[in-house]
Amino acid sequence: MPLDLTLFGIQMPTLLPIFVVCSVMQILLDRVMSDAGIYQHVWHPGLFRTAVFVCLFTLPCLFIYR
C-alpha cells in the first residue's frame, strides 16, 4: 500500500482514511456483536471494544509500514 494518498491536491498519510474506515466498521461490528450478545461473555466490554478496534486498525496499517 502507498505511504500516502492525495485528495484534492492535499497529501495525507494512508493511516488517516484507514482510521475513518475502521471507525465505521467498528460501529457496525459493535452493533452486530451486541445483538449477538457477545458482550455478555466478555469480562470488560469497554476494554474488549478498544482492543477490537486496535486490531482492526493495525492489521491493514501493517501493510503500509512493512
Partner: protein, 295 residues
Amino acid sequence: MNHTTKVAKLIRFSLTFLVVSLAIFLGLMLWNNYMNSAWTRDGRVRADVVMIAPDVGGLVSRVAVVDNQEVHQGDIVYQIDPVRFEHALHEAKALAQTKKAQYAMKQAQSKRRSQADNETISAENRDDAFYDAQIAHAQYEEALTKVETAQLDLDRASVRAPSDGWVSNLLLRKGDYVQAGDKRIALITKGSFWVYGYFEEHKLSLIHVGDPADMRILGTKYRLKGHVESIARGISDRDNVTDGRLLANVNPIFTWVRLAQRIPVRIHIDTVPQGLILSAGMTCSVSISKTPKRR
C-alpha cells in the same frame, strides 16, 4: 450450577485476554515498523541548473529560444548585437597589418645594416636595428593575438547552450542590455534529475549508500525507482547564527521537546516511468528498503 459459572467466568476472562493481548501485539508491531522503516514524505525532485551568462556585454539583438524550449548543446540561445565586435575585429586586423608592415620595414633595415661595413655604420646602430626588428616582430605577434581575441569576442556574442536541456523561466527580451557575467537564462540540464529525500536524523542509521529507493510523485500513480547515491555530511546549525558583532547567537530551545533535524539523502533515479514529465521541484515520498544481502 457452580461449575458452569466457573466455566463461563473462565471464558469471559480468556476471550478478553486473548483479544487484548492480540491488540497489544499488533500495536507494538505497527509502532516498531512505523519507527524503524526509512521513509519520508519530504522528498524533492532536483536538477542541475546552469545559469547561462554571456562572456561579453551588449544589447540583445535576438532571443533565439522560447520559454521551456528544449535546446541542444551548442545551439544559440541569444545573440548580442555583434556590430561593435565586428568593428573591433576590423580595427585589430588593421593594426595587425600596420605591425606587419613595420616588422617588414625593421627587418629590411636590420638586414641592410648588418651587411654594411664598419666605416659606413657604427656597431651601435647595427645592434639597434637588430633589436628594433625583434621588437617589431613581438609587436606584430601581439597584434595577431588581439585579432584572435576580437574574433573570440565576436563569437562569444552568440550565447550558446553549454549542454542539452530546457530553458526555464525565460525573462530575457530583445533590446535588454546584458553585462558580461550577468546570469539571465536558466538551463535545466537534461538527464541530471535526482531526488533529495529529507530524512529525520534518527532514520539515517537505517539508510546505506546503494539501498534501493522507491519514490512516488505526489498525486500520481507514477513510481520512480532509484538507489541511494550519497548522504549529506552537513547541514547548517539553525540555532547558532553568528550575529553582527561576530558573537554566537544561540537560540534558547525548549528543553523537553526537540525536533529531529532533516538530513538530505541524495537518490539517483534509475528508471522514470513512461508518460511522466519530471520537473525539478516536484514533491515525492521516498521509501528506502534494505539491500537484499544485508537483510
